[in-house]
Symmetry: C2
Subunit: 348 residues, 2 copies
Amino acid sequence: MSTRSYVTQRQVAEEARVSRTTVSLVLNQVPDASIGAETRQRVLEAARRLDYYPDAAARRLASGKTRTIALVWHRAPDHTYRDAFLPGLLDGISRAARRYGYQVLFRPVEVDEPNGSYMELVRGRHTDGLILSGPRSDDDLLLALRAEGFPVVLHGCLHGVDIPSVDVDNVRGAAAAVHHLLALGHRRVGMITNAPLVYAASGQRLEGYRRALQAADIPYDETLVREGNFDEESGYAAIMDLMVLDHPPTAVFVASDMVAMGALRALHEEGMCVPGEVAVVGFDDITAARFITPALTTVHVPTFGLGWSAAELLIEIVEQGSGEHSHVQLGTELIVRESCGADAAQND
Amino acid sequence: MSTRSYVTQRQVAEEARVSRTTVSLVLNQVPDASIGAETRQRVLEAARRLDYYPDAAARRLASGKTRTIALVWHRAPDHTYRDAFLPGLLDGISRAARRYGYQVLFRPVEVDEPNGSYMELVRGRHTDGLILSGPRSDDDLLLALRAEGFPVVLHGCLHGVDIPSVDVDNVRGAAAAVHHLLALGHRRVGMITNAPLVYAASGQRLEGYRRALQAADIPYDETLVREGNFDEESGYAAIMDLMVLDHPPTAVFVASDMVAMGALRALHEEGMCVPGEVAVVGFDDITAARFITPALTTVHVPTFGLGWSAAELLIEIVEQGSGEHSHVQLGTELIVRESCGADAAQND
DNA sequence: GTATACTGGTAACACGCGTTACCCAACGAC
DNA sequence: GTCGTTGGGTAACGCGTGTTACCAGTATAC
């Protein structure tokens, strides 16, 4: 089709009657370059007149920098759950990147792909750094990258490796949720984790639960705790298991909204009233939390902020070799809706 | 930090004791190049031994092709609604792109950005083509791009411009939803649109509603139709308005799940039983549709397929100058859950 | 035996830009 | 007058690859 032709630096140089070098120096605002004010002006005007845009490929080749970061998005068994975070995260990443003049590559990694197949991005020099979301803990190539000094930032946390990361403060978020239930007068508060405890976030949210109990001088009772597994079904099963206890909890903290959806459905089917007979608080604040009846009280995760922080940290590492704070933790916010019974309590 | 050094083609050439040209010819599998089998083997082994990866920037500069496509994601007033599509769409795009050896750039456009600010991607030669999602109808730069012959594919449709596009078959999808309600015995079926009718998709879904009625010999009654506006609130207001009629509809087709969420909430608050007193069918199949009570019967939109098709079409245009089918329409699927009352009907 | 083709490979140019080393003129110091 | 020195600008190299034009040698046709 139409062979498009582009304006090059050389043409700008001719238009401004200077050398190509001068054009480059002016347009890149090189600090030590001594260029007369009038010449500088001529160049700028010529560039504007010709509608000049530098060629990204040439620039990358010459400078050795791509000015691009990539989001590597692992599709794990929990991907339905994590999809809820993608729009906000990506928006945050993109806006931060744009602010610093970077482009954003998106690279999903499917479940059946070999470990570390995203390395082609690095080896092919497509990007200056990676944001890894949902990495496998057995990712040895990740450690290799780290050893090479290639800029990497993790979204979410991983046991036992010291790689710059960005995450929410799971412990405090969970503690706030449980504290809220305790403040409403509940003494028997159960918990359903978001996932098996091998996942770092699960352990942290459980830890938050324990701390809140401890702060209220309530002993930790492991018979009130069940494990969720990302999806609705696991929540359904877990809450059923809790409710057949001799002394079932009067409130349950479910460390994942997706899991909570299953729990609420189970309670609904059993004819149990929420929050009347059981109060429920979730975690994540997925879109559906607003829409379900009763609307789910939950811990909001700032997805945009996570993305923004991850990108900012990564770019800092790319440009300066290391970040100021290499482990960023963002705060959460408890969103009080109906499922916890706070409304009713206020009316008392 | 550690100055990483990369293996270049020249080093492979030395290792294999051939010229750099030969290496290039072999690795790119140039058809007309006559290279002996033994030499070819030496080159391949050398490349493998040295773990050679071609430099993307150099390749782009030399070839003039970026092997990259970009998704331009407009954040319009309906962005909360459209976020539900992003994960699937992006996954589809990325997988198709990967299959053809392309990278994917993500570029959100915020509401306050000047019109056509995504042009820098094109001018800077960052990408070979664009997928535009949610473009403004007043986007004159889009037409300019089209005139230049730059590869563009639209996600969703736009009035009055003939640009390659990918979308679901809104008319048939809506018709299927309404037909389903009619088949369940309803004669007074109302509709709430997903958005004002200036949006092309809205008009199409309304058209589907009319066709289904016509096929059942039921006259179109505009008093049973209300306009939604992407969000929950608009659905809340619209259904309230319908229910105060002298003869309110016994079933309502809401052309957007997000809007339907508001409608269901309103009905719930009014103590009306769904599907007992009013049956409801939505459109889009967002995640929340599964979780709400009653679970929402709705028209599933194949987001992955839309993404895949868009990328495939775009790449075809990039490489061959034009696509086989320049307007792709994908089918939808009616997901029958609880809100339509099909379960009860079957039990009759 | 000579013209012709084919096989196997290479030298050299182009891609557009960042950057270094260098040059020239003017100017001040001594 | 000579010697720095400074301001203003340029020639030339390098980045790593794709691609074309060309060359040497050997087989084939007649």
